[in-house]
Amino acid sequence: MRVFDSRLWLCYNAAARWAMERQRKRYGDVHAMLQVRNLHVSVDGQPILKGVNLVVRQGEIHALMGPNGSGKSTLAKALMGHPGYEVTAGEVTFKGQNLLEMAPDERSRRGLFLAFQYPVAIPGVSLANFLRTAINVRRKAADPDDKGLPIPEFRRFLKAKMDLLQMDHRFAGRYLNDGFSGGEKKRAEALQLAVLEPDIAVLDETDSGLDIDALRVVSEGVNALAGPDLGMLVITHYQRILNYIKPHFVHIMLDGEIVESGGPELALKLEERGYTWLEGKQNGRGSG
């Protein structure tokens, strides 16, 4: 089995390389947007990420898959700068600058976005109030004299974005994630993605908890945002979201490392065969 797998791996590797080349040709050799090199992250002194390498450029869609507990959300939160996630080695650059030196809010204002797997509730703060504040701090950071987006204009803008995700407008008045159903939370995360218009977005299991119709709506909504200006890292367990948001690359994380990268076929293969065929692929332990 292992021999067979290794051959396949070479084959996928070639496919991945080919896909990357195609990207370069399409967009020119653009400046790498998000570049993760040998990233090690610990939580509570426990090493979770053990040398992650990943490059996500604007316009690219990457899928990141991997079993429960392999470290996908850890990567997402470390990229966003969660204080509980300690980077012990490696580097991350974003638009050529050291991301790890920036506070989370600065990362966001520079164009990085994370749709959380488990968004926290903030009772007492309405979704609309929160989004208006989020927009206004960006405007203020860009221009200290900015007086903020006028409320009627904001309302129009928000309604358009809510329509994109087929959200009831009354949602804007509800307290942020407070009492939201699992699916409503994911929809609200997608709404924030649509409102904040980042350059690179990490979507951590935005498809989990959505019913079939909601999955289609949210996926189509996110897909409508995709394009040459947005790079995406879509963390998922399922092929079905990838039917809507077609990845250029698929990566597989196992125990804190990306052990396999390839084209869209890789996701299909996982769906078919699970993760067991990848065992032993980790750095230093892999058979190659």
């Binding site: 966003m80 989370p104 903030i122 703060v125 989020a134």
Partner: protein, 436 residues
Amino acid sequence: MERKGFTCEAVEELSAYLDEPGWMRDFRLAAFEVYQSLPMPSLRDEAWRRTDIRPLQLDSIGPFLNGNHPSPGSPVVEPPAEVVAPLLAQETGGILVQVDGATVRCTLSEELGAQGVLFTDMHMAVREHGELVRSHFMRQAVPPTAGKFAALHAAFWRGGPFLYVPAGVDAGVPLVSLLWASAGRTFSHTLVVLEHGAQATLVTHLESRVGSGQALHNGAVELLLEDDTRLQYVAVQEWGSNVWQFTHERARLGRNADLEWVISSMGSRLSKSFQTVELDGAGASARMYGLLFADGSQHLDHDTQQNHNAPDTTSDLLFKVALKDRSRSVWQGMIRVLPAAQRTNGYQANRNLLLAETARADSIPGLEIEADDVRCTHGATVGQADEDQVFYLMSRGLPRPDATRLVVAGFFAEVMDRVPVLGARERLQAAIQRRI
């Protein structure tokens, strides 16, 4: 201006200056005797165990006789325009503005006046509606014997609003009172009388700039709700940080009366307030909401009681407290249920948000239940601003201070949503934002 201590002569002088009827003068003098007979509260008293008033130089502050006001009705000092203007811009049924207890403005809509509603200052009420005041003033709700500071207040009270709504009248739009302190000594008395079936909304603001030296507010609030009445009462306290506040506040509710009482306390150096609802009539219900935010070395102490004296009564208390710097809050709450008060629901909750490690919140809930068919719950929590909430907001681009501000605003929203008057709500929101 010369400052005098709290003496019998000072009581006489004040009463004469205010040109009061004999009964009020006698009432004050009797109260002063009570004051003298009671010991100054100390850390040995259960109610004062956590609030140290030894640094207070009470006698060197003294009573407010006339201060810098040359004659009654013509005060020299006006409250700052930016304090008054927003109140005047609201839709109200009437406004009372006082400086140090002397009235500078008093209006009441013709419509309410025609229905027999009275909204005026307490001295005017004593002069013109003597019997009405006399039958209620510091009798049923806050007698001079309620405590050392209640007695002091009874002897030296000055100013404050009087609201009377006759039977069956719905006063509708809110009535608003502002007490502005410029001389550092206020003794205002709030008296609300709702006759059978009456309804009203009253908002009181207590404000001052930060002055030099110690200042005093020694107030009393009496809310008298006859059967089938409904009162929304919002009290907003924004004293300067040199004010020491001592208040006794009590509501009495008749059969099926309904009270919603919002207590906002953000100012003062130290404040000790006793706030009690007495559910005297069957079916009465009261909700008390506290919105407290302290910083610096402020010390806010609220002593609440929900007394169920009749069957089928409901009380619900929620105090939300946010603390910065070295500030401290004490909340001590008691639900008492008398044997006759069957089918009672009593709830109390105190939520404290500590925004600094040096801040401290003490929560002492209590139940004394003598009836058996009763549903009571109490709970208290003390916590820091949730780092995951702050991180979530920061991940959307909000700098930490903005993220914290939003979390705190959210923390207070539950109570803020209860403030029935838009103008008061906006004022509170602005005060919270300033403080963060």
